[in-house]
Symmetry: C2
Subunit: 227 residues, 2 copies
């Protein structure tokens, strides 16, 4: 599914250049459950943006399901992303002044799914994350944890084969965290690929493989002994 080969992501040039990713190679098969950990600024979100075809590499190659992503135009990329990948961003990225329901329906609207089906699937996804009583609230009318759960519902509503989640439990209390991780387990057991960036050990403990980064490099890639 994911095949990152010698990828460099650089910002700026010369002495002031910052290497967010510095020669990273990584492959992830369908159905894997992988956690990515590492200090603040080590390149985790940058790697997720590359894996989600949201950002370009400075050097190296990236193949998503065998397709060379650099050979696709923006239109083809957004179709591939919309069909295959669910994103949970570190800063939620909900559309402001738009209800939780409309936010969750959005990815389905892009796929041309009719209103009746969209509405039914979006309500079901919001129920899964415990937000049935807040479906008409806009982002400013939701607490931090509720916004994060709405973002999770939006990522799951298209039933993506690949879920990329960046700190999905950062704003959640322990009960909501447990519920969410149980949901991820179910998704993975159904054969979908899950990649989770986290700095919380109890979140990483659910994954079958743990990757650690530092200064833009992968410094460790091990199977989770507890699994």
């Amino acid at each position: 599914v994911i095949d990152v080969r010698n990828v460099i992501k650089r910002y700026g040039v010369g002495d002031a250049a910052i290497f967010a990713l510095n020669d990273v190679s990584l492959s992830i098969e369908q159905g894997e459950y992988v956690a990515i950990m590492g200090p603040s600024g080590s390149g985790k979100s940058t790697l997720m943006n590359i894996m989600g075809a949201l950002d370009n590499v400075t050097a190296g190659e990236y193949f998503l399901d065998g397709i060379d992503v650099s050979s696709l135009g923006e239109n083809e990329l957004s179709i591939v992303r919309g069909r295959k990948i669910g994103f949970i961003f570190q800063s939620f990225n909900l559309v402001p002044r738009t209800s939780a329901l409309a936010n969750v329906e959005l990815p389905l609207a892009y796929q041309g799914i009719k209103l009746k089906e969209r509405r039914m699937r979006a309500l079901k996804a919001l129920d899964l994350v415990g937000l049935s009583d807040r479906v008409n609230h806009e982002p400013t009318e939701l607490s931090g944890g509720q916004q994060q759960r709405a973002a999770v519902a939006r990522a799951l509503v298209t039933r993506p084969a690949l879920l990329l989640a960046d700190e999905p439990t950062g704003a959640l209390d322990s009960k909501s965290t447990e519920d969410l991780l149980d949901l991820f387990d179910q998704i993975n057991e159904a054969g979908r690929t899950v990649v989770v960036i986290t700095h919380e050990n109890d979140v990483a403990a659910r994954a079958k493989r743990i990757i650690r980064m530092r200064d833009g490099k992968i410094i460790e890639d091990v199977l989770n002994a507890k699994k």
Copy 2:
């Protein structure tokens, strides 16, 4: 310092009304270190916004250093806030397309502090949170954890008597979290009042008093046995 009396915060009317705070009373003395915990949606951020005079109560009273906040106009409120309170928001609230340095200087500029002193104090605050090498980066050029640390620097730069922090470590790895909590300890030992909202037990463990909320009410208010 903080004297909340029978405060209600309600959104909407009639059957659809939501009581974010439902008859909350709380007083905090100068120099206290208090943690506020509770499930997602239980009213923690709403309570912080009331304590920071950023939001109005539906019913009840709020006294900040003995002053009835409802008797002040917006101009007087922003002076009181600017002088006395440092805020760390759950969603960072950095000014976009503005460098970390300029973001941290902002509260000092509001107080009319000259550029030379502003610059020196802002650089020192950014150094305290480990961001000396990112002072010219704008929010989109910072990782999630770096943005959170810039927001912490901005809250501390005015040396406020009261620090209100909402999930200040949500996006931080364990080392950055430890460093930040050490900083809060130093601030509290210097006699400043610290109020931290968190769902992480190791963050709450640093406080001397722990308050728990549920459905807009305070259900527990105990001294931290470990302290």
